[in-house]
């Protein structure tokens, strides 16, 4: 089992969500995050002049999938989150030791 953490642009959420759903990955957790990478922030305007905001709002999608599904899920995310400009985000894949479904107590593969 692997956990996929994808940092994406806010405006790409619907497309990514729909693509994952099409491949039957329904469960996910989405949170608002701030971060920075090569995009380096954006200038915003004050009454006069500008100031630079270098931590930009992004979304983090977290989902846990079977080992065999990692590539399919990543492809779905990459294809739909990509614009080609800096700031498209990053994907991290982490091993997962245990999964528990709270309602039933099911463990691991049957809990995903």
């Amino acid at each position: 089992m692997k956990k996929i953490e994808a940092i994406i642009r806010e405006e790409r959420l619907d497309a990514v969500k729909n693509a994952l759903e099409e491949k039957s990955y329904f469960g996910m957790t989405v949170s608002e995050v701030s971060g920075r990478g090569k995009q380096k922030g954006i200038p915003l305007q004050w009454r006069v002049g500008e100031y630079r905001v270098d931590l930009l709002p992004k979304l983090k999608i977290e989902l846990v999938v079977l080992d065999d599904d990692v590539t399919t899920a990543i492809d779905a995310i990459v294809q739909n989150a990509r614009t080609g400009e800096t700031g498209d985000g990053k994907i991290f894949v982490l091993p997962v030791e245990t999964v528990v479904r709270v309602r039933t107590g099911d463990r691991n593969e049957s809990a995903i």
């Binding site: 608002e32 915003l44 305007q45 009454r47 006069v48 002049g49 100031y51 630079r52 905001v53 270098d54």
Partner: protein
Amino acid sequence: MPINTGDTAWLLMSSALVMLMTPGLALFYGGMVRRKNVLSTIMMSFACLGLVGLLWVLYGYSLAFGTDHGGFIGGFNFLGLKNVGQTASAVYATTVPHLAFMIFQAMFAVITVALFTGAVVERVKFSALCVFSALWLTLIYLPTAHWVWGSGGWLAKLGVLDFAGGTVVHINAGVSALALVLLLGRRRGFPQDPMEPNNIPMVVLGAGLLWFGWFGFNAGSALTSGGLASSAFVATNTAAAAAAFTWMIISWIHKRPTVLGTVTGAVVGLVAITPAAGFVTPLAGIAIGAIASIISYYGMVLLKIKRGMDDSLDVFACHGLGGIWGALATGLFATVSVNSAGANGLFYGHAMQFLKQLVGVGSVAGFAFVGTMLLGKLVDIVIGLRVGQVEETVGLDISQHGERAYGGFLR
């Protein structure tokens, strides 16, 4: 003279309108600071309603409007509102109860003190600010209010025109703000760290309340509810409109038409028309407002960006420069066809009036600057004007007030 019910109704309503400007200013300022300092910034304005509201009835009104002493200060004859009752004053607003005129003036004192706090947000110690505010009201506001509006005040006798407080309120607050900035220094991290406004919609709401309340401020200053109030009302709205529009265009020329800039422009226009509102034609408001935005915008560029001065919410650029321009513009555009109690300005063949306005600007600005420097230094030595490094980094909401603006685990 008998009490006129129409005048009284309008003046009481105007007093309420001006009162609402202070919470409006609290939101205007509060939205512009960082999240950790919202409440402290709001409190700096709101606390004035308590502090100045008390001092005003105890002795403030008396020292500003009591029997004249040498043109410089009022006497003690209205101490604790003695002799200020339900009948009209013999000198001020002679068609309304003296109490109504007194409370109208109270609201001006409240907001003037609140205005300069915008320069020192995010780093000033609240206790020091309270003490400074009481001293400033007593030793700077009350004398200058007497000079300009008090019966026998030396600037009033000289013939300086200030319809609703361009010198007493705006130049006073703006120049004092500049002096406080010099005493206090920059916020930690300014200008290299982003000082992002936490809530611009709150700034817009505040600006809206200010604009709304300003009708009481300016049209109420007619002290009657007739034609003069209407003329001042229209001049006020016209100047605000012209200034908001002008700022929007300047901002657009430089990059994008910002909301923060446009509402700032409206406030600057309102500042500039304040001394002129009841002396100039409503259409003069267009030039007064539009030029005010240009002066204030480039003043901000010069002070904040070129010189790196951290007048945090641009009180000097908005109220100091806007007020100075408004006071001088009154000397250009004033005409007795609008107000027979006024005078003709330079454009109506009376250059002397412009010189009188210069005297008004120079004396109030000079007095406010030197006075604030001295009082501020005194408070700095005795209490300390600035919070410590940790308190500033944590934010004044928690360090000064033990509260935070946006509670709860989830946003």
